[in-house]
């Protein structure tokens, strides 16, 4: 079985930041492997270690800068990586679900995996829709918000649990090929070992342009135009206790006694 894992480098934001137009100013931004994708990588690598998967390939849409993040996935055990970038993508403010679907579909068609794992959502734009959209586009089956996957794949079927709201899980059988969107907590993502990090430097990282993939530039035009970004207004009339830790702890202690909930 071949598994393709979508890996995104997401922007992280410092506690204090400034907004310039419809972007957070560069100096307040960091970059990290998308948390949900980390769990998807781990699930794929575990399937490989269990002898179920023969090959784990990652795919990332992103500029050269994100190769460090891709190497993290390779260091954790993925076999090789595909990175898609193009000048046409440089100026896109917000790559929408349709555009990501077009690009990833082309990669899936080239790689022909049995299973595609994606994170449930990306920590920065939080669309949580690309995996299911991709599945539909490919005529694959799918499952969203998967927090348990049986590793035996009897009859080419994935037995999964989907995490619904309120502490309820749905048990579902999904025919392969399929796209599963992976929820955090499904496993415990590993740290890359030193050996893994060394090996990752030698693994294949293939860069493809839109033309290489046969994707027309018009397909990535976003239908969603970001028009404003601002810090949400606080609706709170919170009382802030100030002073030393002893002072603030004492204020809180007094409140708890007033409420009659503490001795």
């Amino acid at each position: 079985m071949k598994i393709l894992v979508t890996v995104k480098e997401v922007a992280t934001v410092e506690d204090e930041f400034e907004i310039e137009g419809t972007e957070i100013a560069d100096q307040y931004l960091g970059a990290d492997l998308n948390e949900w994708d980390d769990y998807a990588i781990e699930e794929a690598v575990q399937l490989q270690e269990d002898g179920i998967a023969d090959e784990v390939v990652t795919v990332t849409i992103g500029p050269e800068d994100c190769e460090q993040t891709i190497r993290q996935a390779l260091a954790k055990g993925a076999d090789r990586a595909v990175r898609v970038w193009d000048d046409a993508l440089e100026d896109v403010d917000l790559l929408d679900v349709g555009a990501k679907t077009e690009i990833l579909r082309a990669v899936v068609e080239e790689e022909d995996p049995d299973l595609v794992l994606t994170g449930v959502q990306a920590g920065d734009d939080s669309f949580a829709a690309t995996g299911v959209s991709l599945a539909e586009d490919l005529d694959f089956e799918w499952g969203a918000v998967v927090n348990h996957l049986e590793h035996d794949f009897d009859d080419d079927t994935a037995s999964v649990r989907r995490e619904l709201e309120g502490g309820v899980e749905e048990l579902t059988e999904i025919e392969l090929p399929a796209v599963l969107t992976i929820q955090t907590g499904i496993n415990e993502p590993r740290y890359a070992s030193l050996r893994g990090i060394r090996q990752a430097q030698r693994k294949e990282l293939d860069v493809q342009s839109l033309a290489d993939l046969g994707v027309d530039e018009s397909a990535i035009e976003s239908e969603l135009e970001l028009t404003d970004m601002y810090e949400p207004e606080s609706e709170s009339d919170v009382t802030v206790w100030e002073g030393s830790a002893e002072d603030t702890a004492s204020e809180l202690g007094e409140l708890l006694r007033e409420k009659g909930v503490a001795p």
């Binding site: 957070i24 679900v97 299911v132 499952g143 649990r161 955090t184 970001l226 603030t248 702890a249 409140l255």
Partner: protein
């Protein structure tokens, strides 16, 4: 094309709250587009559901009697067929786990853009202005869409529709292609029962990512002991295996309503807030004064939990 089609959500025989909220969101949009609000209820006891959903502002309720429980293949087929039949301008679905399991497929099949997890919607009749959060709630954004669209709405952002309506209730005869059904729901399971029911606690001492590592959990347990309170947590603590699943507060965990909720090192992601905003008094201890939890806290300490928590424990020992 000015109508709005809103899809309701139910599970195991009960309509979910978001089904009444989506009526409010849908009515608001339909007023702005000058169209009708069509509601659809798919699978389950659709006639009973339709009676309950007939609230003020709904023009038509389409009942689609196909199967008992949610199946994304069925929902995708039904919603695309309803779209073809009704030609609405916007399709609204809940941004629930199930909403996210079919709305992107519907959008893709219909060739429509999708915008998810919206917290506010506005339109001038031609352009949709969707408000949503990015970067874990640190910023809010508006995006414009000059087209028909599939839109998912966040729960608890619109008020529940009240009042009795006089909607036309129409059975929709969907043509379900069984060969498209590559997934089957085989059951449900309640998770994380365990020995402690955090939804019963009067005081919750709740711990989040700010605790940094598992070895630090005992300082929270010490405080809970001193206060005779119960320990709960946000999602990452349970994901890391530092506390069992039955301690998780939030959308995918338990909904709690204690007298006092002390959120320690919890930033306040929307999924967490959904589970605890009904608490009588909320106290947040967090170094980040801009953390979203501060928006709903009644009292806050902007300080290091590793200083404040032991000091508080000492007070009660």
């Amino acid at each position: 094309m000015t109508d709005v089609l809103a899809i309701t959500d139910h599970r195991r025989g009960d309509l979910r709250d978001v089904s009444y909220e989506i009526i409010t969101a849908g009515r608001q949009l339909a007023d702005e587009t000058g169209g009708d609000l069509h509601l659809a209820v798919i699978s389950g006891t659709v006639d009973e559901f339709a009676d309950k959903l007939d609230r003020e502002g709904v023009d038509v309720i389409h009942t689609v009697d196909v199967g008992e429980e949610f199946n994304h293949n069925v929902y995708t087929q039904v919603v695309t067929q309803l779209y073809d039949e009704l030609a609405p301008q916007y399709v609204l679905t809940p941004n629930s786990v199930n909403g996210l399991d079919y709305a992107p497929a519907v959008a893709n099949r219909l060739g429509l853009p999708i915008v998810t997890d919206t917290v506010d919607l506005d339109t001038d009749g031609e352009t949709l202005i969707a408000t949503r959060e990015m970067y874990g709630g640190k910023v809010e954004t508006t995006s414009e869409l000059a087209d028909n669209a599939v839109v998912t709405i966040r729960s608890a952002e619109w008020p529940v529709a009240e009042g009795t309506g006089d909607a036309a209730i129409e059975a929709f005869d969907a043509d379900i292609d069984e060969s498209q059904q590559g997934s089957t729901v085989t059951g449900f399971e309640e998770v994380g029962g365990g020995d402690v029911d955090i939804s019963e606690a009067d005081v919750l001492v709740s711990v989040g990512r700010g605790i940094e590592e598992e070895d630090n959990i005992p300082i929270i347990e010490d405080l809970a002991d001193a206060l005779d309170a119960t320990v709960s947590s946000s999602r990452p603590i349970v994901d890391n295996g530092w506390l069992p699943k039955n301690r998780q507060v939030g959308q995918s965990g338990k909904v709690v309503t204690p007298d006092v909720y002390i959120a320690i090192g919890i930033s306040g992601a929307v999924q967490h807030v959904a589970g605890m905003k009904g608490s009588d008094t909320i106290v947040a201890i967090n170094t980040d004064p801009n953390a979203p939890i501060m928006d709903i806290a009644d009292y806050a300490i902007h300080d290091d939990l590793f200083d404040v928590v032991p000091a508080l424990t000492e007070e009660f020992q």
